[in-house]
């Protein structure tokens, strides 16, 4: 079998690799690039733990081949924080106890980030529909929904603030 030469940009950094066509994108990220924040859960495109962004659109990286990502921009959970500052979604999952075991969390956060890009002020029903491709097996979804609502509020405040920093409460 011939290998394919691919170039992918992951969290802003360009990577080149020679890969077998059968290599799944999630394995490229985890095994070749060492980015183990993206999890493999069900491995059948049901659970969403492997959710990442490809050219800005959320995707299940267990259901894509690495060769399909050639020339594309990928963002994973490792690309969400700015240095020591957590992304508002990461902080909100912490604040609202939006996780218990944490296995679904990277996928939940990546899918939530995509949802808020598409719909910055979603209703509860829209949040639940937006994360319907991501399964959590410990907490139920109440605190996950709360976390996404918190992050939506904070991100909207940042977007509206002239300085680009959060509007001080009170």
């Amino acid at each position: 079998m011939t290998t394919q030469h691919i170039t992918v940009t992951v969290n802003g950094e360009a990577h080149e690799a020679d890969v077998e066509p059968r290599l799944l994108l999630v394995h490229l990220l985890r095994d070749n690039l060492g980015l183990t924040g993206t999890h493999v859960g069900c491995d059948t495109s049901n659970c969403g733990a492997c959710t990442i962004h490809i050219d800005g659109e959320s995707a299940k990286s267990c259901t894509m081949l690495a060769v399909q990502a050639d020339g594309r921009e990928i963002k994973t959970i490792e690309g969400m924080a700015s240095g020591a500052t957590l992304h508002p979604l990461q902080q909100a999952f912490w604040d609202q106890h939006g996780l218990q075991c944490g296995f679904c969390t990277p996928g939940m956060i990546m899918q939530s980030a995509w949802l808020l890009k598409e719909n910055p002020a979603p209703s509860e029903a829209e949040i639940r529909e937006g994360i319907s491709g991501n399964l959590c097996r410990c907490t139920g979804y109440v605190n996950i929904v709360k976390a996404i609502q918190q992050a939506a509020g904070e991100m909207a405040a940042v977007a509206e603030s002239p300085t680009g920093s959060p509007v001080a409460a009170g």
């Binding site: 079998m1 011939t2 394919q4 077998e20 066509p21 059968r22 799944l24 491995d43 059948t44 495109s45 049901n46 969403g48 959710t51 659109e57 959320s58 995707a59 299940k60 259901t63 894509m64 081949l65 060769v67 399909q68 899918q111 995509w114 949802l115 529909e129 937006g130 319907s132 491709g133 991501n134």
Partner: protein, 305 residues
């Protein structure tokens, strides 16, 4: 799960794709979004020798109305279909199906052509194509074939070039190994017509326990002039509930009529019992989903004058 070894090629246009398919007849599979094919090759239910990625083949994702048809390109994603203004404004059946398939990630990448070619017996689009009497266009180096979704349209001889209908059996379609599914043609929506899709599922994003797509066309006298009912997940492949359609045509819409049609659709289904329920339950649900779809399709037909 690791797929078996496979070769990969990414042709730049449709002609190149068709040449590859001809040269490699039988051992190549087309790859678009991958949300049907990749699970299959991971489970090793399919083991193609070559994957032909359609990513660089342009011109296959348009969504346009011509004089006669709504034409949807094979590479249009479920999301593109859901977001197309023409679909949102004029094709509520297609709009609600496109917005409800799988989950958001699946809709971002999965394509109508991939889903239709995959022909999972519980998938949503085939029921819609059967209800609307759509044709599926396949191209090869020899030329183009327009294949009717409905078995009944072959018998009528309406669509000269095809000798058989599209959805033949479980995961089996009329596409030949050297052909590419290029577009889907759905008759333009006439005034006085409406459609709706009713899907029973255990949870959001699940495959249908049963799904029913219904089209109702009202005549000037208020009676049902034409009806199309496509049923998914309760037979070896999707089918037209022809007995139910025959009960509807020529009659004024009513709850009693819809019940009779629903019972006929349930009787025409051939479900198998599984984790989603026993045979009797699925038949009953096929009947009920038919009634619900007919109700909403009729409401929409009355509102689209």
């Amino acid at each position: 799960m690791i797929p078996a070894q496979v070769d990969y090629v990414r042709p730049g246009n449709l002609d190149e794709t068709l040449q590859i398919l001809k040269d490699r007849e039988g051992d190549a599979k087309l790859l678009a979004g991958g949300y049907s094919l990749i699970p299959l090759i991971k489970l090793r239910l399919a083991q193609p020798a070559l994957l032909v990625d359609l990513r660089d083949v342009s011109g296959l994702d348009g969504i346009v109305e011509t004089d006669d048809y709504l034409v949807i390109g094979a590479k249009a994603t479920h999301r593109q279909i859901h977001e197309a203004p023409i679909i949102r404004d004029r094709y509520p059946l297609i709009y609600e199906v496109a917005g409800h398939i799988g989950d958001p990630q699946v809709r971002n990448w999965g394509t109508i052509g991939g889903s239709v070619a995959h022909a999972d017996p519980a998938s949503d689009w085939p029921a819609v194509l059967i209800a609307t009497g759509a044709t599926i266009v396949c191209r090869s180096l020899v030329g183009e074939r327009a294949i009717p979704a409905r078995r009944e349209d072959v018998h009528e001889g309406r669509l000269g070039t095809a000798h058989r209908h599209f959805f033949l059996d479980t995961f089996l379609t009329a596409i030949e190994p050297h052909e590419v599914l290029t577009e889907i043609r759905i008759n333009r929506r006439p005034r006085g017509s409406g459609g709706a899709y009713e899907k029973l599922e255990r949870k959001i994003g699940d495959f249908a326990t049963v799904g029913v797509a219904a089209i109702v066309v009202l005549g000037p006298d208020g009676r049902i002039a034409r009806a199309g009912i496509g049923v998914t997940a309760v037979a070896e492949t999707q089918f037209a509930a022809t007995d139910a359609e025959a009960i509807l045509v020529g009659n004024p819409p009513s709850e009693e009529l819809f019940r009779r049609a629903g019972t006929a659709a349930g009787a025409q289904s051939r479900p198998s019992g599984d984790v989603r329920g026993p045979v009797e339950y699925k038949r009953a649900m096929a009947a009920e989903m038919t009634v619900r779809a007919l109700r909403r399709a009729t409401e929409r037909a009355l509102a689209y004058v």
